[in-house]
């Protein structure tokens, strides 16, 4: 049976993990490669690096981190942040990423998803959809853009269908309203998109408890759950997350970690 994936996400800025990773005694809590190795040992099912201040000047730093992580961690690695061209996708994959996240660039250039999928295959193209609720009843969400920091008038569910039709192999669905709050995923958003598309969906944005992870899969119909701070600061371990999912009768991969 296919297992639910538990994916820690490392936000990276200027080559450092934002706020650090403190669930184990790392000599350097801000070293992304050391953090990746710790999660590898802890039994994470995949890893995600998000370069939150992607710029051309520090691209080399990100590629170096990706390469050194891939050399040491034999697990799937997804990398995003500042991906604007097919060339960006190709370079990240060549550096050691297995999947690349496309976000803002696809808002204005949907063709990027299609061109990337044609070049490297759908399995390596993940589209990150930041959704923000614009109406409570009936529930409706729009795609949120970091450029201008606002909703951009595109229905999030329709956008999800469109990028999948263009070749996205997986969707990372992030609630902008919940991100960083610890109040739980926006389950209705996750489910609305997961039920609308044929590709796997990763729930993201707002996980604060183990119950939130369970709800993301059981109620949100996600195939995987992504979280950052609840793991980084040691509130919960990867093993505890898997135990909670398992207790809810969801299949997980149990590891020694």
């Amino acid at each position: 049976m296919l297992r639910v994936r538990v994916i820690p996400c490392l936000d990276v800025k200027d080559g450092r993990v934002v706020k650090g990773v403190r669930f184990v005694d790392l000599v350097d809590a801000g070293d992304p490669v050391a953090a990746a190795k710790a999660y590898d040992a802890a039994g994470a099912d995949e890893l995600c690096f998000l370069d939150i201040r992607a710029s051309h000047e520090n691209r080399g730093t990100l590629l170096d981190i990706v390469g050194r992580t891939a050399d040491a961690c034999f697990m799937p690695l997804t990398v995003g942040g500042g991906v604007r061209t097919v060339e960006d996708v190709v370079i990240l994959l060549a550096s050691g990423a297995d999947k690349v996240l496309i976000n803002t660039a696809a808002h204005t250039d949907r063709g990027l998803v299609r061109r990337a999928a044609e070049k490297v295959g759908s399995q390596a193209v993940v589209v990150n959809i930041d959704g923000t609720r614009v109406s409570a009843e009936p529930a409706r969400w729009e795609v949120f853009s970091h450029v201008g920091h606002r909703a951009i008038g595109i229905d999030a569910v329709a956008y999800a269908r469109e990028v999948v039709s263009l070749g996205a192999g997986e969707l990372l669905v992030t609630s902008k309203d919940r991100d960083g709050t610890g109040a739980g995923y926006d389950i209705a958003l996750t489910r609305a998109i997961a039920d609308a598309v044929t590709v796997p969906v990763i729930a993201s944005g707002g996980a604060g408890t183990l119950d939130h992870l369970v709800a993301g899969v059981r109620d949100g119909h996600a195939s995987a759950v992504l979280a950052a701070s609840i793991f980084h600061f040691g509130r919960f371990s990867i093993a505890e997350a898997k135990a909670a999912l398992k207790a809810a009768s969801l299949p997980v991969r149990e590891t020694g970690g």
Partner: protein, 214 residues
């Protein structure tokens, strides 16, 4: 004597990850195996073992492989005639098929009878088949030595190899029906999952391949 393994570079697959995983698996075993990523058919012919990676679409990969002058002949010679241990990974396994069906029919290497077809996203089945899934392993498969049946491996694919002969199936997974997880006939083997991305279990399989004397 130092043995060598050639990972065929034809523009497809995460070659860096694959090479590092083979190096790690070799050192874990105490083997002094030389790992070579190469697009040179002569280097493939000289190698003791051959690995064919591959991601993306069947037709693209086959086209890419044929575009490397002399590579197909070198593979046929090394694997079919000289019987060198061979491991295809993901689309690299699928290329052993007679044909792939995807926007028309495309010829594969034709080493193992059968065809590669899409997994249909019916009854809510998500495609690609992405993530860790347990593999049911046929007893006595050397490549799976030390790996109990039911071990999860990392998959990411939208197409499945449907072999004509069940005898060729070394391991299978369940995803809306049987998925071919691994094939083996004589010295030819392939995995649909990615051993180079399957952490300790994957490294173990790679180590087994490096030790394999079919």
């Amino acid at each position: 004597m130092t043995e060598s393994v050639a990972i065929v570079d034809y523009g497809s697959g995460n070659l860096r990850s694959a090479a590092k995983a083979f190096e790690r698996a070799a050192s874990d075993r105490g083997l002094n195996e030389r790992v070579l990523v190469t697009a040179d058919p002569d280097a493939v012919l000289r190698a003791d073992r051959v690995v064919l990676p591959g991601v993306g679409a069947f037709a693209d990969c086959m086209r890419g492989l044929l575009a490397v002058k002399g590579m197909r002949a070198a593979l046929d010679e090394a694997v079919r005639k000289r019987g060198r241990p061979f491991l295809g990974i993901c689309v690299g396994m699928q290329l052993m098929a007679e044909r792939g069906v995807e926007f028309g029919t495309h010829k594969g290497l034709g080493w193992i009878e059968g065809e590669v077809r899409a997994i249909e996203p019916i009854n809510g089945l998500k495609v690609p088949h992405m993530g860790w899934n347990d593999v049911t392993i046929r007893a006595g498969e050397k490549l799976f030595d030390g790996l109990p049946t039911g071990t999860p491996m990392y998959f990411v694919h939208s197409y499945n190899f449907y072999p004509a002969r069940q005898d060729d199936v070394a391991a299978s997974a369940d995803y809306g029906g049987a998925v071919t997880a691994a094939l083996r006939r004589g010295n030819m083997a392939g995995t649909q999952f990615h051993p180079e991305k399957s952490q300790a279990a994957g490294l173990r399989l790679i180590g087994n391949f490096l030790d394999w004397r079919p």
